[in-house]
Subunit: 173 residues, 2 copies
């Protein structure tokens, strides 16, 4: 029995998904999230919330500060610290829907750029994300994606309560 | 260059996550979702909603009818049809929190049982889920998980609006 390369050596169980397919899966979700941002009226995007939660722009700001810099950190081992992240400082310079969407698109490109630089074996290695969260890189990345799905879904409840039909969850085009 | 087995032949890009780790990741999410069910008062679980959406028990019923039977379908190629699924018929025999939690635990076991029977190569093969949704098995399974995260997050907004702190998203123990 021979191994081909280091990537195959790490397989102790069947392949579930490879890194290209996972990136495509994530970017599909990001297209949905972008449509949810677009569906909000400008004022409600920054000011509307339910039960004391953050407005949707605040949730998006958290996603943004985690996802792009997170992939960069995994690719380069250079991490922003948790205290520099928008949802901890509460500071953000993004105060219009257009600016939020522009920042969203910048992060989409940043993810693609740094994803291509992640070393082959890195996904199975333990990293210390943002100087604080320790785990296998695949788990850290799934956290970014799951956190996006989680907060986006909360935004869809805001939309429903405003009488606005949210973009379809299943449409990733 | 030699391949070890069919699983490694399918690797055209680096491994992101193997099937054991993905199952553990999912079951971690299922522990969170179970705690969200528990956090609801009995009446609100079945009757409370926002913006015309389904009560949380209805969302859980959708998750249940998709996840256990979905893994069984991928493992055995025997699928329930979409019309037999609870959220389409609107029928469910589960009408108490205890019964909902019991059904949840049954599905947890069903997922573990049938996951172990999924053939090694199956995750990369195209399947027709529930006779209706075509895609690679990994994508179908990610849909089950993402759909659970999505609807659970909606439930956390219900809880917040009821003045109840939801279980922590990040705690998967």
């Amino acid at each position: 029995m021979t191994t081909i390369n280091t990537a195959t050596e790490t397989i102790l169980a069947p392949l579930f998904i490879n890194s290209n397919d996972l990136l495509n899966h994530w970017q599909g979700h990001r297209r949905v999230t972008r449509r949810v941002i677009e569906a909000f009226p400008e004022d409600e995007l920054f000011n509307y919330s339910i039960g004391g939660m953050r407005p949707f722009a605040g949730l998006i700001s958290e996603i943004t500060s985690m996802s792009g810099p997170g992939v960069k950190g995994i690719a380069t081992d250079e991490w922003t610290t948790i205290n520099e992240m928008d949802h901890h400082t509460g500071k953000t310079e993004v105060n219009s829907k257009d600016a939020l969407l522009m920042e969203w698109d910048r992060i989409t490109d940043e993810i693609n750029t740094f994803w291509a630089q992640i070393p082959t074996e890195k996904f199975q290695e333990v990293v210390l994300a943002f100087g604080q969260y320790e785990g296998e890189a695949y788990g850290i990345i799934l956290y970014f994606i799951d956190n996006e799905i989680h907060h986006r879904a909360q935004g869809t409840v805001y939309l429903r309560s405003l009488g606005i039909e949210p973009p379809a969850f299943w449409n990733r085009d």
